[in-house]
């Protein structure tokens, strides 16, 4: 377990990201704060629409065409507030100090460009390497992410790779400039379970080799447990609970986290009824008053409807946004 570091690498403070839709807008991220330490693997976990992806995309302002606008907050990275940087200065950081990989590598690779050139592109831009040197580095990177026959594959196009191999190529591109932070947005969701296992182990090995921090976004609590040092559980645009992974799984202090863990199949005896969470997450444009989870919460009282619960520290490095945390069984 990584220790709590004195100087975080990334510090997100009170981030608010708004999605503008015809006739209405919704806060996809609503007052999110967390820190990622040096060499730490930090997880953002939650269900569809909880704001985990919008949060991580706000860091590099890569919204893939979604009508998103960062309304307020700070994103401090190495003393710099990324939100105050103009597009040009931010693009000096993107791919160099902070890199990102996505769920679907096919849409983030250029289909008309050979893999070797795509891996070398960042090196030539950020580190001003020459063509031959960039190609040599591309070969090393492809080998280090476990692509077989790297020398001959440098001249292949993305469609000639399988899904798992494409994700390895994406990782090679991301690592090319030795970033300090790798943001991985659902990096294994599209992959089969044996390939997921390969990619997660690869990511953890490379994290150690490169001494970088990883911010991993996932819906899969198994992936969180297997990879993360610390975790934030998100619900309806806000952090519900934030803790070290072990503390979160052993002693969850938010009813939503507890309910999520109970709804997982396969943990106990077959045939057991699962304990689903009733209802569905709220529409972000029509949020319930007070705690956003209260309509689905088994422990809700009248007070839960009155105001948005703040994150309360309940143990070392363990915070929950539940006013009833002391009354939970």
């Amino acid at each position: 377990m990584a220790p709590i570091h004195t100087q975080p690498l990334l510090s997100v403070r009170d981030l608010v990201t708004v999605f503008e839709m015809p006739g209405r807008s919704a806060r996809g991220v609503d007052g999110v704060s967390f820190e990622v330490g040096q060499g730490e693997v930090f997880g953002l976990v939650g269900e569809s629409g909880c704001g985990k992806t919008a949060t991580c995309r706000s860091i590099l302002r890569l919204f893939a065409g979604a009508p998103a606008r960062i309304e307020r907050g700070e994103i401090l990275f190495g003393g710099l507030d990324l939100l105050r940087l103009d597009e040009e200065r931010l693009s000096d950081i993107r791919g160099a100090q902070v890199a990102m990989i996505f769920q679907d590598p096919m849409t983030s690779l250029n289909p008309t460009m050979r893999i070797g050139a795509q891996i070398g592109e960042g090196l030539r831009r950020h580190q001003k390497l020459g063509r031959a040197e960039a190609r040599r580095r591309a070969f090393e990177l492809l080998a280090s992410v476990g692509v077989p026959n790297p020398a001959s594959r440098l001249d292949d196009y993305p469609h000639q790779f399988s899904g798992g191999m494409r994700q390895r190529v994406m990782i090679a591109i991301a690592l090319a400039c030795r970033p300090k932070l790798l943001i991985a947005d659902e990096p294994t969701t599209a992959l089969d379970v044996t390939i997921q296992d390969q990619i997660l182990k690869l990511l953890l090995r490379l994290k150690n080799e490169y001494g970088m921090s990883v911010l991993i976004v996932t819906h899969d609590l198994g992936v969180v447990a297997q990879t993360c040092d610390r975790v934030a559980v998100m619900y309806a645009g806000r952090i519900a609970e934030l803790a070290e992974a072990r503390s979160l799984f052993r002693n969850p202090r938010h009813p939503y986290t507890r309910a999520l863990l109970k709804s997982l199949p396969g943990l106990e005896i077959e045939g057991r009824r699962l304990a689903p969470i009733g209802g569905a997450p709220p529409d972000l444009a029509r949020l319930p008053p007070g705690c956003r989870f209260h309509p689905r919460c088994a422990y809700a009282v009248a007070e839960c409807r009155a105001q948005l619960p703040p994150l309360i520290l309940v143990g070392e490095g363990h915070a929950t946004a539940c006013i009833r945390h002391e009354s939970l069984p």
Partner: protein, 332 residues
Amino acid sequence: MNSAAPLLQVNSLVKGFPARRSLAALMRGEKPRALQAVRGVSLELATGETLGLVGESGCGKSTLGRCIAGLYRPTSGSVFYRGEPLHGRETRRQSSRRVQMIFQDPYASLNPQLSVERTLAEVIRVHGLAKGRSAIADRVDELLLQVGLSPQAKSQLPHTFSGGQRQRISIARALAVEPEIIIADEPVSALDVSIQAQIVNLFIELRERLGLAYLFIAHDLNVVRHVSDRIAVMYLGQIVEVAATRELFRQPGHPYTRSLLSAIPKPDPDHRSHSVSLEGELPDPHFPPSGCNFNTRCPLVVERCRIESPELLEHSPARAVRCHRAFQVEVG
């Protein structure tokens, strides 16, 4: 109808898809390289039983499900329902009353322009399962209650429902013809975990209440473990292991099964996996490796595996494994 025969019996089912040849390949006189998605699968399903079917993308599990449901015509092999051929002599309408299929994406499998009521009423009317407007309306209400939806919502269109509710509607439509067998192809894969649990529970409840048998196809082993009495594991179009659920998880007999189980990320930070990942990727199904199809990735591979393809051998009742080195754990 033969009362001793199993509810569903699949014998040596093969399904190939002819590949299109490019013009250039045609000019070179290349033979069309057919893809055999299912390569000789036999299985049985008993009344009220749930058989889980697992395997990774491209293993042929969905194609097998579609062949059994009659959506694809098998290249060879047969499907029997209580000892009678399921497809063939009967019309499609008759056989669809016995076997219904539920798909992963309820968005795509519901007509967006039909209200829930019309979707269900049409099925009831086409099959002549209720006569008269009020009898049909009663049946629609009953079906909705059965899947946990309020009959008050029946005039709404599919898009007004959430993903989980839409999957409930698909289930209600399948139940409308009172089938004995439901083939569920990744029915909860598109759903968030809290909603997934609701639908998994619904499947279990309906089985208990209506005595349904399921062929439950999914890539998520935890979900399959939860609902299935037995599990069949597929690799490159063949069943490589079939066993009672508890036995399969307690002691996997095939090295592929073992790799699949150990690759599931366990939601427990105190038990991090340090096992070595299964090497490599699925071979091109157009050219399955000779000998045992798994030999290119198998940690237990020996010379024999590259030459001789193993049979699916019964090791104990309800347990069969297709491996020369079944139940062996280390390379020896």
